[in-house]
Symmetry: C2
Subunit: 376 residues, 2 copies
Amino acid sequence: MSDSVGIVTPQKWVFEEPITLSSGAVLPRYELMVETYGELNADKSNAILICHALSGHHHVAGYHTAEDKAPGWWDSMIGPGKPIDTNRFFVIGVNNLGGCHGSTGPSSINPATGEPYGSAFPVVLVRDWVETQARLADRLGIQQFAAVIGGSLGGMQALRWSITYPERIRHALVIASAPKLTTQNIAFNDVARQAILTDPEFHGGDFYQHGVVPRRGLRLARMLGHITYLSDGGMGEKFGRLLRTGEYQYGFDVEFEIESYLRYQGDKFANVFDANTYLLMTKALDYFDPARHYGGSLAEAMRQAKAKFLVVSFTTDWRFAPARSREIVKALLDADRTVSYAEIESQHGHDAFLMQDAPYMNVMRAYLNNVAKELV
Amino acid sequence: MSDSVGIVTPQKWVFEEPITLSSGAVLPRYELMVETYGELNADKSNAILICHALSGHHHVAGYHTAEDKAPGWWDSMIGPGKPIDTNRFFVIGVNNLGGCHGSTGPSSINPATGEPYGSAFPVVLVRDWVETQARLADRLGIQQFAAVIGGSLGGMQALRWSITYPERIRHALVIASAPKLTTQNIAFNDVARQAILTDPEFHGGDFYQHGVVPRRGLRLARMLGHITYLSDGGMGEKFGRLLRTGEYQYGFDVEFEIESYLRYQGDKFANVFDANTYLLMTKALDYFDPARHYGGSLAEAMRQAKAKFLVVSFTTDWRFAPARSREIVKALLDADRTVSYAEIESQHGHDAFLMQDAPYMNVMRAYLNNVAKELV
């Protein structure tokens, strides 16, 4: 298709310099799995970094082989002529440190032991990801990103970029995100974590050596997660109280279609995702709170930033409701920063940031069109 | 205390007549654990039935021993001079069939095998509970209840009473309830069930014979349930992002106070509640849909009723939001029935029906005062 970036090949970047993480833990070396689309221009001013959310990775657009059935996870947004236009921008996708898609993470071999890291892999914070992404930018010779863009946990990375490296980012696009988790957000994460941690096959995180996978726990975590990604109304429209067989079965097998959907999603995820990575990602969410080092003032935190902002929320998102995005907008205004805000009508709940609601696509296209115009 | 019903003693009622359940399954005999408070008047017109919710039971008010630290689960509502005034009403609490507090349930001995029922215990619907409660009323010589009252799943029983036995109930008090579950409600229930069903110690429901309990699954189910019982705001006010130690720990032990609270609640529950009963209760919730046999029209279902109704909802309840109560009210109005409706401002979410917000207590007191006045 003419609007696809086509066949893409991920590259592994090796960083032999040790990194000291926020927790104090040190990784002596690490690797990042990366994909890029489009061409970096002569003055290296057209680079856009895409930050992924909980279960995302570096494969953001295009296909790995001609036989691939599904493209990268944000293919709707990225490609020639798409809102993030690869004819104009050089787009970078990276699997975050701690991930399970090729970057160094809990399932990678720990050079100190010759075994998978497992429980020895340190907790990673959003700021640690930003640090590794900045080192990647150094390698690519990118001094300043045209934009850093992310949805959900990805939006938190864009926010953190704007605070930690104000000179290195011209625009931050923060979509379906929040300045920190609510108590309820943390509570859901903890149930998901407890499902994994108490799975007998988790083995304290060192299940790799036992030849098993804590599939039950990961499946439950994903099922629960899915409920929070969808809106009550959207779920109702799609599944309602539809029965699998049309009649009550009076048992514990699949009865309602929604059960079938959730169990399928849980099973699928449990077969491919790493349980330790899931734990790490949820902790990064819990810990994110940029106001924390500024006396609890998000406005003070945002005063560090020099970027311009686009903040986007979705009406039926109850995981990170529009009110959470408005907190970010208010802090930016209080800090005298430039911010555009769009609250998009959508039935897709939190997942809307991955969907193609026309008003959303139009907002993204218009904003990034202006970002492109700044390029000479 | 002068407003307590004092020390009460539960009674076990034995029903030797078989009961055919909605599923078609037959129980040859069953027992119900019952408590009563106050005195049945001469014409037996002052009886009030209290229906319990998911984890409730017959012990609704008072204490079992002088050493008891906590009274019955609705002691705030029931007693001399309280809204449900035991000086005027004869109040009945009953542990529902399938329960785990003395009534016949999955942990009871199956007469056919001499072993606990376990997986052989049939699914029970709200209408089945109403049937067993009606038989209990027959035994007590109660032809007509002054009121049937319940919160959440208990409210569904009150609704069902009004439809199935219109002549036997003068008032139905339906609190923090819903006319049927939404897709999201079912989805949460299914995650809870899957946590139990996939616990290796569940043994297909026959864990009793293995000398184990599916504690991990039940604990997760309860943790998840608790999130849906509390409001996001109320949880935020109580726990916020408060850290156990004041500092990030960068690990998977308790970090935030909310985690400590949820895990404690989960552990406590898993030590006392029966996993099979939990499964049954969630299925009863899923199946409840009185409109189903009236062409999907709740108004048509409610047209069967002769009772007067009080419907109560709480502003921050997102498990059964006020909109769900308003569906009931609208159906009752469409059916030309008499209904009072109170939407109570509360921070307590779904749990508010067990709390003592003054406006709520006042509404209950005023309504039941009028119910008492009808008694000669």
